[in-house]
Amino acid sequence: MATPTTTSRSGPPVEPELPSIALADLVGAHVLTPRGRRVGKVIDVEVRPLERFRVAALIVGRFAFIGRFALVRGTTSELENVTRPRIIPWSEVERFDGSRVVLREPRAGQARDEGA
């Protein structure tokens, strides 16, 4: 087998022509404003299975290895208050070059909290 084996069942083949992104690269990537200021790191990536598994948002915070219990259940503790993970919709992402996420310029009239 010269190429990776695809499963023998279920449906439509994957289109190989479109550029592919390794989501594992996205997790842990630095997130920057267009001006290069650090917003944080990608802690997790939200995906919508019912919308064709589209990437909906990034969860960004200071420490990439934070436990997910805190994120998902929303419990508060010292650590969470310090790191304050934020949800950034994918629409606010300008590009991801494989190691860094760069956000779009905020639209006029839309203030975005630049503090990290």
Binding site: P4, T5, L18, I21, A24, P49, R54, W90
Partner: protein
Amino acid sequence: MTTPGEWPGAEKGIRGALLVRDILDGQLETRDHRKVGRVADVAAVRDPDGTVRAVELRIGPEALAGRISPRLRPLVAKVLRGRFDHRIPVTEIAEVGPTIRLRGLSDDYAVGQAEDWVARHILRWIPGSGRPASSPLRERY
């Protein structure tokens, strides 16, 4: 491509949002409760309109090398030529919990046959290994 609402996993409790770290490194388990590996990576594609969709689960040394460093991926790809890597469409995910349950049986996936391969080609020479799995055409139901 499946359209919204058509995805079978919707019945089983995956609604709304799924977090990638719930899938990465998760234990893959087939419908017949066989462990077939762990998710090394999740591949996504970017549509022309800018949306990014997760499409495949990646398993194997090439994907694993990429977890250590993205630069290792092409190196491993050149050496192993994808011989040991597998892809499973994300639509095969039935349920995400302590394990990632897949819709199919272990024989339905190429990666599910790795265990049988080792059993048939290596272990059978040792007495007491148990009856080697028969061909993929065995009766299941």
